[in-house]
C-alpha cells in the first residue's frame, strides 16, 4: 500500500500541475511504469511510479496544481485488501505563488485540517465525548457563550442509557442504547459467573394490606406492589452485604447503603436502571413517590448521573402484564439482581386446604465470585418474610 506523491523534479520545484493520468483506477502498475504527466516550470514531464500493485484511486484531478509531496494516487500493493487507505482525503488544488514571489513552502496536506473544528466545546467536554463516542454536533451547549461543557455530554450520555454501559458506543439514540446494553450484557455474561435461584412467594397478605391502605388514603398517597417489593428487598439486604455493592478492580466493595436500581423500560426501546438512593431508609409513601418520580423522569429522559452510576443492586419487575418469572442478567459492576414475575392467582396449599392465592415468583441472579447459593436462598427467604409482614415495611 502506498501513496504516489507529487515528485520533486528539481531542487527549486515547489509545485506541479497534473496534466494527464496515464493509469486509471483499477489498472495494474509496476515499478518504473509511467503513471502521469506533470507540468512544471521546465515543461511537461512524464513521471514514473516506484511501487507495484493496483492503482486504487486518484487523489487529485487533472488540471490541479499541488505542492511537492502531495498525495496524487493510492497504489494498492498486491495482496492488500481494497479500501484499506480510505483515511487519506482527496486533495483540493492549492494556489501556488507565482515564481517571482518569495518562496514560502506550502504546508503538506493542509487540506486534512480544512473545514470546521465543530461546535464550541470545552476541553473537558471534548475529552468525555471522545471517550464515550458522542457526536458533539448533536448536542446543545449550556456553558459560557453557549459552549458544550462536560455536563452536557454527560447528560447526553445518560439519556442514552449509560447505566448499562462499560465501553465506548459509536452510534447515538436508540442504536446507542442498544450498543450500550449489548456491551454491558455481554460483559456480564463474559465476566460474571451467575447463579440463579427462584422462589414462589404468596403475596396475598401484602396485597390485602395494600388494599386496605389504599382504601384509607387519598389517590396521591396510594401504593403499588412495586413499592412494597422495593422496600422488602432494600430491608432484606441489610443482613446480606455480599449482594449489595460493586465488583471493581478484581474486588468486591460492599456498599453501606442500598441504592436500589429499578429497571425501567423506555417507550422507544431499551431500558435503564437508575437508583433510588438509600431505599431502606425511605418510608413506603416516600418510596412510592420516588418510584413515580423516577419513572416519569426516566421516560422524559431526565435523570441524574448519580442515579445511574451508583446503583448497588437492581430490581427488575415484570409488572401486571408480564410472565411468570424472569432469569435476569446482572448489571456490572453490581453483583446481584432480583427479579419479580407477574403476580398470578394460583391454587395453593394452605394447611390442608387448596385455596386461591396471589403468587409471585421471585428470582435472584447473583455473582458466584462474591456469594454462594445458600446465602442467596436465605436472601430470597428474607424478602419473602418481609413481604408477608407488610405492616412492618
Amino acid at each position: 500500500m502506498g501513496v504516489f506523491r507529487m515528485p520533486s523534479l528539481g531542487a527549486d520545484m515547489e509545485a506541479g500541475t497534473l496534466v494527464e493520468w496515464l493509469k486509471q483506477p483499477g489498472d495494474t502498475v509496476r515499478s518504473g511504469d509511467i503513471i502521469a504527466v506533470i507540468e512544471t516550470q521546465k515543461g511537461a514531464i512524464e513521471v514514473e511510479v516506484f511501487e507495484s500493485g493496483t492503482l486504487e484511486r486518484h487523489l487529485v484531478e487533472v488540471g490541479a496544481t499541488v505542492p511537492v509531496g502531495t498525495g496524487l494516487a493510492v497504489i494498492r500493493s498486491d495482496g492488500t485488501p481494497a479500501g484499506a487507505h480510505n483515511d487519506l482525503p482527496p486533495v483540493a488544488p492549492v494556489a501556488v505563488a507565482p515564481p517571482s514571489a518569495p518562496a514560502t513552502p506550502p504546508p503538506l496536506e493542509r487540506t486534512a485540517l480544512a473545514g470546521s473544528f465543530g461546535p464550541k466545546a470545552s476541553p473537558a467536554a471534548r475529552r468525555l465525548a471522545q471517550e464515550r463516542g458522542i457526536d458533539l454536533d448533536t448536542l446543545t451547549g449550556s456553558g459560557p457563550e453557549g459552549a458544550i461543557v462536560f455536563v452536557d455530554v454527560e447528560q447526553a450520555w445518560l439519556r442514552r442509557g449509560a447505566s448499562v454501559v462499560t465501553g465506548p458506543a459509536k452510534s447515538s439514540g436508540v442504536d446507542g442504547m442498544r450498543a450500550a446494553i449489548a456491551a454491558a450484557m455481554a460483559r456480564a455474561k463474559r465476566e460474571i459467573p451467575h447463579y440463579y435461584l427462584g422462589h414462589s412467594v404468596d403475596v396475598s397478605d401484602s396485597l390485602d394490606w395494600m388494599g386496605r391502605w389504599n382504601d384509607s388514603h387519598p389517590p396521591a398517597d396510594r401504593l403499588v406492589f412495586s413499592a412494597l417489593l422495593a422496600k422488602a428487598v432494600a430491608l432484606a439486604l441489610d443482613g446480606f452485604a455480599e449482594f449489595n455493592g460493586q465488583y471493581r478492580d478484581g474486588q468486591f466493595h460492599a456498599a453501606a447503603q442500598v441504592h436500589l436500581g429499578i429497571a425501567i423500560a423506555l417507550r422507544g426501546g431499551g431500558l435503564v436502571a437508575p437508583a433510588i438512593h438509600d431505599a431502606a431508609r425511605l418510608s413506603l409513601p416516600q418510596l412510592m413517590t420516588a418510584l413515580r418520580d423516577l419513572t416519569n423522569r426516566v421516560r422524559a429522559g431526565r435523570f441524574r448521573g448519580s442515579e445511574l452510576a451508583d446503583s448497588t443492586v437492581t430490581l427488575t419487575s415484570l409488572g401486571e402484564r408480564g410472565v411468570d418469572w424472569v432469569q435476569p442478567v446482572i448489571y456490572p459492576p453490581q453483583v446481584a439482581i432480583i427479579g419479580a414475575g407477574a403476580i398470578q392467582r394460583r391454587p395453593w396449599l394452605v394447611g390442608d386446604s387448596i385455596v386461591p392465592r396471589e403468587i409471585c415468583q421471585l428470582t435472584l441472579a447473583a455473582d458466584h465470585r462474591v456469594s454462594d447459593g445458600h446465602r442467596g436462598g436465605l436472601l430470597l427467604r428474607e424478602i419473602e418474610a418481609r413481604l408477608q409482614a407488610p405492616e412492618a415495611l
Binding site: 470545552s122 476541553p123 473537558a124 467536554a125 471534548r126 475529552r127 451547549g141 449550556s142 456553558g143 459560557p144 457563550e145 453557549g146 459552549a147 461543557v149 462536560f150 455536563v151
Partner: protein
C-alpha cells in the same frame, strides 16, 4: 473559650498575631532581632511592633535610617554572620530600593557560593491598597518576588498564619519574604493560645464547593469568601483556595481542585499583565487543560496607578461583585 483539644482560644487581631509571632521569636532565639523604619520608638507604621522596644531593648528592636538598600543589606550580612534577623520594609512599594540586595545578594549567595553560605533572613513587608494611601503606597508587587528563585514568598491571610508563618520562615535556611496585607491588620480572628509555627509549603482549601475554583491569597481571601457565600445563594458552590505560599506555588492543591470543578477564577490584587494570576492560569492550562469546561478567568486590579479618591480606589481593586460576575460567566450564567 476552649478548643476541641481542650486548649484555650482567644480573639485577636491580625496585628496582634504578628506581634505575638515577633515576641515569641525574640524570646525563643537570642539570635533573632527586628529592624526597620520606625519599628522601635514609634512602634511600627502599622503599630505591629508597639511595646517591643520596651521589652527587648534597642539592641534587638532597631530603628533604621530611611535607607532600604542599607538596612536590608545589613540584614543579609547579619544572617550570613549567624544571626536570625527580621527586617521590616514599611511597604512593598519602598522595596524597590532594596530589590538589588534581595535579588542579587540574598537570593543568589547559596547558589554562587556552591552551598557554602545561606541567608536565613526574614523580610516582612506590608502590601495592598484600600487605605487611601495613593499610588506610591498601595501597590501589590508580590509577584515580582515570587518570580525569583532562591527565596520563599509567603502571604498569610488568617490570624493563624500571621501568628505561625514568621517562626516557620525563621527556621527556613533561605531568605523568606512575608507579605502582610494592610487591610488585614484590624481583622479579628480566633487563635489558639498555644498556636505556633505552621506548614508553609501548602495552599489551604478555605471553602469546599463543586462548581468552580476561586484561587486567591492575602487580602483578597476575605472578599473571595464573601463572593463565594453570595454565589452559594445562587446555587453555585465554589472551592476557595488560599495560596498561602506564592513561591513555591502549591500546584497539587490547585490542580486537584480545578480538575474536580473544571472551572477556575483567580482573584489577585496585582495588575493583570504579568501577574501571579497569569502564572497560575498558565499552570492550569499546562496541567489541567483537558479537564477545563471554561476559559480560566482572572479578577485583578485595573492597570492604573492606585487612585487616591476612595470611590476610584474601590473601583480599581478586585471586589466581591466582580468576583461573582466572573464566576457566573465561567458557569455560563
Amino acid at each position: 473559650m476552649t478548643t476541641d483539644q481542650g486548649g484555650t482560644v482567644a480573639t485577636v487581631t491580625y496585628r496582634d498575631a504578628v506581634r505575638m509571632a515577633l515576641q515569641d521569636a525574640l524570646r525563643r532565639d537570642p539570635r533573632v532581632f527586628l529592624m526597620g523604619e520606625d519599628v522601635g520608638r514609634y512602634g511600627g507604621c502599622y503599630a505591629v511592633s508597639k511595646g517591643l522596644l520596651d521589652e527587648f531593648g534597642p539592641e534587638r528592636i532597631r530603628d533604621t535610617p530611611l535607607s532600604e538598600g542599607g538596612f536590608v543589606g545589613a540584614g543579609i550580612g547579619a544572617a550570613l554572620g549567624g544571626m536570625r534577623p527580621i527586617v521590616e520594609v514599611m511597604t512593598v512599594n519602598f522595596s524597590m530600593l532594596c530589590l538589588d540586595q534581595i535579588l542579587n545578594t540574598a537570593a543568589t549567595l547559596r547558589h554562587m557560593s556552591g552551598g557554602q553560605f545561606s541567608v536565613p533572613l526574614v523580610i516582612r513587608m506590608a502590601t495592598g491598597a484600600g487605605r487611601q494611601l495613593a499610588a506610591q503606597h498601595s501597590h501589590s508587587l508580590e509577584n515580582w518576588y515570587a518570580h525569583i528563585p532562591g527565596i520563599r514568598v509567603l502571604a498569610p491571610a488568617t490570624v493563624e498564619d500571621a501568628r505561625g508563618m514568621l517562626w516557620s520562615g525563621l527556621v527556613d535556611p533561605d531568605p523568606v519574604i512575608i507579605f502582610e496585607n494592610v487591610m488585614l491588620y484590624n481583622m479579628s480572628g480566633e487563635l489558639a493560645e498555644d498556636a505556633g509555627g505552621v506548614a508553609i509549603d501548602r495552599a489551604a482549601l478555605r471553602r469546599r464547593g463543586r462548581d468552580l475554583s476561586l484561587i486567591t491569597y492575602g487580602g483578597s481571601l476575605w472578599k473571595t469568601l464573601g463572593a463565594a457565600r453570595q454565589l452559594a445563594g445562587e446555587g453555585i458552590e465554589a472551592d476557595v483556595i488560599d495560596l498561602r505560599s506564592l513561591r513555591p506555588l502549591d500546584d497539587a492543591t490547585i490542580m486537584e481542585s480545578v480538575a474536580r470543578t473544571r472551572r477556575a477564577v483567580i482573584v489577585d490584587e496585582s495588575w493583570r499583565s504579568g501577574s501571579l494570576a497569569a502564572e497560575i492560569t498558565a499552570r492550569i492550562v499546562e496541567q489541567c487543560f483537558w479537564s477545563l469546561d471554561a476559559p480560566v478567568a482572572r479578577v485583578c486590579t485595573a492597570e492604573v496607578p492606585i487612585p487616591y479618591p476612595k470611590h476610584l480606589e474601590d473601583a480599581a481593586l478586585p471586589q466581591p461583585a466582580a468576583i461573582v460576575a466572573a464566576a457566573r460567566a465561567v458557569m455560563g450564567r
